[in-house]
């Protein structure tokens, strides 16, 4: 009896060990269809497996059906995932050599993982042959390049501007600021009127980062900002310290909502749509969110953050379709055809209300998303890659920590800059 009890307890103990040590796997993907890549072109039809986001299903499903009806020799097997499950599944599939033939990914350090490890098709020759330079926005083509080679078919090109409620601006008799000093004066004016200027939710770090990177662009200038993102300049630079000092000053002056640092970004931004708060930095996708909140997106105005540098660059990022470098040539050819179809002008114009910000040079304006074309026009002056894609993910995480720690008085701005530089050096020594 006693031995049995001991055996039972030992079994419980072993079970716990095994459950905890083997729990490294992520959440389960929401699959609509199975299928992994490196597929063959055999049989009557060429089958292309593609992994994309759930959010894109509403327009990608009919587009894929259209594509199949126009290309009866190609069968497309889409699988839809949530954002994090897609990232996890791609990593696991890459490790186990079961990547699909084509997948959606973000640019910068998120998408670079696959070409860096030789898993994607080099599309440089295809781009030249198909004259992509006449079709896609040059900024988008630039953002899908790794080591000078094109690693993906540009899908979206998102740029970020400062958004504000026009009604509030009219009430306060304001106009979009032309200089950083004017912008700061508007912040104080709003605060004096008992209006919280910034609509920022700090949970996750990325929404606050959008302001920090603009401060770095303002204090450091175009060249230094690019060097910092490329890890070619020291993050202990005075411009970085000044940026954190300004962030702290804004926080101490009450320009952010109380306790904003762990507020949900979406929730924190909603009062702005109703004219109750001043500013957020957003991409054109926000139009859909504004509409869902029951507000007309045209009641929101946009301007470029006044960095006091010329050109005034916009934070931006690209999204793309990457194609499996190990798939059969026939499958790769079919995948390129599909990607070009999905991102082509005819389809974009047909689905523009749901599509988001296309990576094309020309497309129709959407009534439901009035800021898409406006932002696409603004980016022509210049852009920089958004920090959470420009920097290695370990440095991104340290940046998020530094933002919070400075606001909470745990680190001085100088310490924050030092910690970031340490993270950069650790990344360099490990790679």
């Amino acid at each position: 009896m006693k031995r049995n009890r001991f055996t039972a307890m030992l079994a419980v103990m072993i079970l716990i060990v095994m459950m905890l040590s083997a729990c490294g796997g992520g959440g389960s993907p929401e699959k609509n269809a199975a299928g992994t890549g490196a597929g063959d072109g055999g049989g009557d039809k060429t089958t292309v497996s593609i992994w994309v986001l759930n959010d894109q299903a509403a327009y990608l499903e009919p587009i894929i059906k259209d594509f199949e009806s126009k290309n009866p020799d190609i069968k497309v097997e889409p699988t839809f995932y949530g954002t994090d499950p897609l990232k996890e599944s791609l990593k696991v599939a890459a490790a186990s050599k079961t990547l699909p033939d084509m997948w959606f990914t973000w640019g910068g350090s998120l998408g670079a993982f696959y070409p860096e490890n030789g898993l994607t098709m080099d599309l440089t020759a295809v781009a030249a042959e198909h004259k992509w330079e006449d079709i896609y926005n040059p900024a988008a083509i630039d953002l899908v390049k790794y080591d000078g080679k094109i690693a993906g078919v540009p899908f979206h090109l998102a740029s970020l501007a400062v958004i504000y409620p026009k009604e509030l601006y009219a009430k306060l008799n304001l106009n979009p600021p032309a200089t950083f000093a004017e912008f700061e004066a508007q912040l104080q004016l709003m605060k004096d009127q008992d209006i919280t200027p910034f609509a920022v939710g700090g949970k996750g770090g990325w929404m606050l980062m959008r302001w920090v990177e603009q401060l770095i662009e303002h204090y450091g200038g175009v060249e230094l900002h690019d060097q910092l993102n490329a890890l070619e300049a020291s993050w202990e630079d005075p411009a970085v310290v000044q940026s954190f000092q300004k962030l702290k000053e804004w926080s101490d002056k009450g320009y952010f909502e109380k306790g904003f640092i762990t507020l949900d970004p979406q929730e924190a931004e909603t009062p702005l749509y109703h004219g109750l708060q001043g500013f957020a930095i957003e991409g054109a996708w926000v139009d859909l969110t504004i509409s869902q909140a029951g507000v007309d997106p045209s009641s929101i105005g946009i301007f470029k953050f006044p960095t006091d540098h010329q050109p005034v660059r916009m934070s931006s990022f690209a999204e793309m379709f990457q194609i499996n470098g190990s798939s059969e040539p026939a499958v790769q050819e079919a995948a390129v055809k599909l990607a070009e179809y999905v991102t082509g002008q005819e389809i974009v114009n047909e689905y523009i209300d749901q599509y988001g910000s296309p990576a094309l040079q020309q497309f129709n304006t959407s009534e439901q998303s009035p800021h898409t074309a406006e932002m696409a026009d603004m980016i022509k002056d210049g852009n920089f890659l958004i920090s959470d894609q420009a920097l290695p993910q370990t440095v991104v995480q340290k940046l998020f920590e530094a933002q919070d720690a400075v606001i909470l008085n745990e680190w001085t701005p100088e310490q924050a800059a030092q910690e970031l530089q340490k993270a950069v050096e650790a990344h360099k020594s490990n790679n």
Partner: protein
């Protein structure tokens, strides 16, 4: 060995094989990976011995916060969640009007997903529009209103309260099942012998619940060590990484930073922390059963 002796093994073998392949194999592979520097894809897998463990203990400040948070979470779960679970079970084991309803009410949060609970409690804790601060202001204690989730000193405890609300239902149900299996004769005999309720609890209820305690202890501990979704939903590990736990940091290292070796080392730290608690417990319980 005789055929009879082999018989149980033949029945066990299919399950054992699956267990070896699905659980034991990956666990040992994780242990092996923890000794390498590897990004999960590269053919260049560099053996670094215990360097990943040393890095975590000496250089990774977030890991150290996460380890401390897991220890606090574990301690809180083993005392508060189990304590409250037992208390509710004792209360709801008595004859009480609406007993079934109360059992359902207390168990209900356990069936909700961690993300839903996180959303609800985030609203309750909202610094300006949340219920708790409004309540404090309403009863004239406005000076105690606080951004509970935005202050590193209170954030983890605030999330833990939400986890207690969600998690107390499971031990309560297990204890209730255990209490209902205790024969009433024992209590009746104790009353005849003049035992007071506290003595009955100490000398009858607790010893006869010892098997239940093992299960409750094990499930609570596993849940505490694996905690992730409720923290991710309420604070995403912030502010300033102050609510990171080992599971979330393991996820970041493995899937965001592509440090498969470091992520695997964290998962074995999880095992180690659990062992530090469970070995003395198993030893103590086993010793007690020999008395």
């Amino acid at each position: 060995m005789k055929l009879k002796a082999w018989k149980p093994w033949t029945f066990l073998m299919p399950a054992l094989l699956i267990y070896l392949v699905v659980i034991v194999g990956p666990s040992l592979y994780t242990l092996q990976l923890s000794l390498y520097r590897w990004n999960g894809i590269s053919p260049n897998k560099q053996f670094v011995g215990l360097q990943n463990y040393i890095y975590l203990l000496t250089e990774d400040t977030v890991f150290q916060k996460a380890l401390k948070n897991n220890v606090l979470w574990l301690a809180g779960s083993l005392t508060i969640i189990i304590g409250l679970g037992l208390m509710f079970a004792l209360l709801l084991n008595r004859k009480l009007k609406g007993r079934s309803l109360f059992r359902g009410v207390f168990y209900f949060p356990y069936v909700l997903s961690g993300i839903i609970v996180a959303l609800m409690w985030s609203w309750l804790y909202h610094p300006t529009r949340g219920f708790f601060n409004a309540l404090l202001e309403g009863i004239g204690l406005g000076e105690l209103a606080h951004p509970w989730l935005a202050d590193p000193k209170t954030a983890l405890y605030a999330v833990f309260i939400a986890a207690v609300w969600q998690g107390v239902g499971l031990p309560m149900v297990l204890f209730l099942a255990g209490l209902q299996s205790i024969p009433k004769d024992c209590y009746e005999a104790a009353i005849i012998d003049g035992a007071k309720p506290v003595q009955s609890f100490r000398f009858i209820t607790i010893p006869l619940l010892s098997e239940t305690f093992v299960i409750v202890f094990a499930t609570t501990m596993v849940n505490a060590m694996k905690v992730y979704d409720i923290i991710y939903g309420m604070t995403a590990g912030g502010p300033a990484q102050s609510t990171q736990v080992l599971s979330s940091w393991m996820y970041y290292q493995t899937f965001k930073f592509n440090n498969i070796g470091v992520g695997s080392a964290i998962s074995w730290f999880l095992v180690f922390v659990t062992m530090v608690v469970i070995i003395p417990y198993v030893y103590y319980t086993n010793k007690k059963s020999h008395l």
